[in-house]
Symmetry: C2
Subunit: 225 residues, 2 copies
């Protein structure tokens, strides 16, 4: 098995595929580096490939007519993005993709992958699963944006970042600059900072740079602004 196929296997999108199929996909893929703060693609660009993050973090964002930027998602290692564009009319990327730090990616060629899609059973199913999961997360985001206030969204985000099986005394590493995370949560950086301060003052969390330790999960709730 090639190096690339090995990387692919790590992604949820490509799990449970036979080695032959993985090898075929690997033929469609090639490595790509992006420097910190560089654009990988821009909203409106013609769609050529989708991506698997091998190392680093990529930020997907949209620009508003007013000039404000909104972070839609922050993608980390072993996660894929832009797969959905394969099936969208127009075949253009709907968002900007920017590297938050120097990142290594695998670019999977759209046309090449498309040909595999009909031939290989299970591949379409994997994609459907991946899209459904993303869909579900987005629905949750929309609900959070309207049902919860800023504190609630921050708390929800922190809880969602807790690593598996580490409920007590969890330590979270923020995957991006605080301003980017604030945007992802639909709030201003200042508000994000203030909310963390309040949580810190109540003894719920401990903040040290981009590391946050959850001390008392119970205290996270009911901290209105």
């Amino acid at each position: 098995m090639t190096d690339i196929a090995e990387q692919l296997r790590a992604a949820a999108l490509f799990q449970n595929l036979d080695t032959e199929t993985l090898a075929a996909i690997a033929e469609c893929a090639q490595y790509r580096q992006v420097e910190r703060d560089k654009l990988l693609f821009q909203a409106g660009d013609a769609f050529q490939s989708f991506f698997l993050v091998v190392d680093g973090h990529i930020q997907l964002s949209r620009l508003a007519p007013s000039g404000h930027e909104k972070v839609v998602e922050i993608i980390g290692p072993e996660e894929t993005f832009a797969e959905a564009v394969l099936f969208m009319e127009g075949r253009r990327y709907p968002v900007d993709a920017r590297a938050l730090e120097a990142a290594q990616l695998l670019a999977i060629d759209a046309d090449c992958f498309n040909r595999l899609l009909d031939a290989r059973r299970g591949l379409a199913r994997n994609l459907l699963g991946a899209l459904s999961k993303r869909l579900h997360r987005l629905v949750q985001d929309v609900a959070a944006l309207t049902l919860e206030d800023a504190s609630g969204r921050v708390v929800g985000y922190l809880l969602g970042q807790i690593p598996e099986g580490e409920e007590a005394d969890a330590e979270i590493h923020l995957p991006a600059k605080k301003a980017a995370i604030a945007s992802r949560l639909g709030i201003q950086p200042e508000t994000f900072s203030r909310i963390l301060s309040r949580l810190r003052e109540t003894g719920a969390i401990e903040v040290a740079g981009d590391t946050i330790r959850i001390l008392e999960p119970d205290k996270l709730y009911h901290n209105p602004g």
Copy 2:
């Protein structure tokens, strides 16, 4: 071709499928009526089938811990919903589905449809297309919720409701009670009402019950609260 197959063909999800495949799907489907305000399913219910709206409108909503209800989407005739649940872990509906008015639906059995998915080429592709489209819309929603204020979202919604090729003097019929649409837009009914009033006062629109006429599209913009 059966009556059911004919209905299926209307949905974007089942377009460009050969008649044999359509007939096979029709075998998985059966009619279902829902009375006004009745629940079709509830968040947490075991997933058994997804739906095509033949007539009427269905509202998908989520209940917050606080007891508030948020409308995620309003589904009209020839549209499908809950397809994504087919591929989600847990196999439970993530939202409530309620009829806004007496509605007729086609319920497509999940297990039955699932078996077709592997056998029939093109079917998976259609699903992928449908999910991608929905995904894209949700991303736009998320962006709108954070990039635009309440007026901007209302205006965006109105523009999105304009029927094809009717740019000038368009007439819009609101598909649901104003309170439901307000929730969909992430605002309170009072705010929705006030924003429509302001647009009316500026001469941009004309409101008569659930019918809205766009008089001067240019005036829709730049009407801060």
